[in-house]
């Protein structure tokens, strides 16, 4: 695929595919369009030439809703609305907040070493590391089949980075990660794409 924005060429002749349940790490200098790839998959950017398919579906108007429902996308800055976390979670899980989910929430909070009280805070009150963990928490509870994680561990300490990488890599999910953290490659469970 080809994509050019404001005289800057983001992709030129990029061929890239990911198998079901595969774990792929994309690494490379910043500014070469790694995050743009995620945006293309979600329909936020369109390519100038070439095609992008998700489970054989073209990224097009008629499929975009279904495609987005299958993907969890964690942006670099964890761009959540500034609201009390509890309210945000209520909104996100509106239709699906059952007892299972609540149990899972408690379990995951402890995995991510977050205190229950954090849910009473607003997004803007969180530190970078807490934000990232909240982003991952939403990812894990939503349990969608495809995860696109953009620098998911950049603000975490080494122990937490490792814990997250172990957890993510053992899931039966298709995961594409953009990261500069060595922790992802340590276990040899991930395919590396260097751009």
């Amino acid at each position: 695929m080809y994509l050019k924005r404001d005289t800057k060429k983001n992709f030129s002749n990029l061929n890239f595919w990911v198998q079901e349940n595969e774990k792929v790490l994309i690494s490379g200098k910043s500014g070469i369009g790694k995050s743009t790839l995620f945006k293309v998959l979600l329909g936020f950017e369109t390519v100038d030439r070439g095609s992008v398919l998700f489970n054989k579906y073209k990224i097009a108007k008629e499929h975009i809703k279904t495609i987005r429902q299958q993907i969890f996308y964690l942006s670099q800055d964890i761009d959540l609305q500034n609201e009390k976390l509890k309210n945000l979670l209520d909104q996100i899980f509106e239709q699906n907040l059952n007892k299972n989910r609540i149990d899972q929430l408690t379990e995951l909070l402890s995995l991510l070493e977050l205190n229950n009280k954090i849910l009473e805070q607003t997004t803007n009150e969180l530190s970078g590391g807490e934000r990232q963990r909240i982003g991952l928490l939403i990812c894990f509870i939503l349990n969608r089949p495809v995860w696109l994680l953009d620098e998911p561990t950049s603000a975490l300490d080494n122990t937490m980075k490792k814990k997250i990488a172990d957890y993510v890599l053992k899931q039966d999910k298709t995961v594409v990660i953009i990261s500069h953290d060595a922790v992802w490659t340590a276990a040899n469970k991930i395919k590396i794409e260097r751009w």
């Binding site: 329909g43 369109t46 809703k65």
Partner: protein, 264 residues
């Protein structure tokens, strides 16, 4: 009984007070005198013209002419809304025109037909001033509302995208922005309804009392006009938001960049 007419010279005499203001501004280096003079001159000229054509409209009181005049007022209001929100006229004129026209004409005719029960609902005396008040206010609310909505989405594009992936639908992801812009546009009219009469007597009331109406009649009109303004504001901003949600985004729910005049 009507208000005493003002002599032209005595009206001009009111300009005496502008001189100390100009001098103080120069001393304080406010750099506002040019704008101030232009604004005062524009106000005087514009109102003089209004006086002339209102005389004309009132004299002939033709249904067609009155309605045409109202339509021109709506067109000017639409133009002002679109210009202030930096949207492209070509893309937004018709939606905004409808958003104003529908609640405005409904409320105006309700006012004239049901409330005042005048025989000729197109009578210039009622149609033009009441229409002007509804229109002026709904123009202001629309500007606040749309500016708030579009600037919110532009500023928070990434947050909006993230919400879109989390919540699944455009309308769900836009909810916080819709909420914020509706509230912002309602705040002035709600505040003015809550303090009306306590802080100042509104223009229509003052005008009617000066024109010879008994205060009780003037008050009833004022209540009616405040409610009508509020309803027109509310429904016209709601409609323009709905049209914005429909026409301002592409098939992938992304805010279209080409609906704005300047690059964002």
């Amino acid at each position: 009984m009507g208000a005493n007419d003002l002599g032209l010279l005595s009206l001009v005499s009111l300009l005496i007070f502008i001189f100390p203001i100009l001098i103080i501004n120069i001393r304080l280096k406010l750099g506002v005198n040019k704008t101030l003079v232009i604004s005062v001159v524009r106000m005087c000229l514009q109102l003089s013209f209004v006086g002339i054509y209102l005389e004309f409209l009132f004299k002939y009181d033709s249904k067609l002419l009155n309605v045409a005049y109202l339509l021109i007022m709506i067109l000017i209001a639409c133009h002002a809304i679109i210009r202030s929100t930096k949207l492209k006229i070509r893309k937004f004129f018709f939606p905004i025109f409808l958003s104003i026209l529908i609640p405005f004409s409904t409320l105006l005719f309700f006012f004239n037909f049901v409330l005042v029960r005048i025989d000729n609902p197109f009578e210039a005396k009622y149609l033009i001033p009441i229409g002007g008040m509804l229109l002026g206010n709904s123009m202001k609310s629309n500007i606040i509302c749309l500016n708030n909505f579009f600037s919110g989405i532009k500023k928070d594009e990434k947050i909006y995208f993230f919400s879109l992936t989390l919540l699944g639908s455009r309308i769900q992801a836009l909810k916080p922005y819709l909420k914020k812009s509706i509230l912002a546009s309602m705040t002035p009219i709600l505040a003015s309804m809550a303090t009306i009469g306590l802080v100042s007597l509104p223009g229509m009331l003052t005008g009617q009392i000066l024109g010879g109406s008994i205060p009780l009649v003037a008050i009833k009109y004022q209540i009616a006009i405040m409610l009508s303004i509020f309803y027109t504001d509310y429904f016209s901003t709601l409609l323009s938001l709905l049209f914005s949600v429909k026409f301002g985004f592409n098939e992938f729910d992304v805010l279209k960049k080409d609906i704005f005049n300047s690059e964002v």
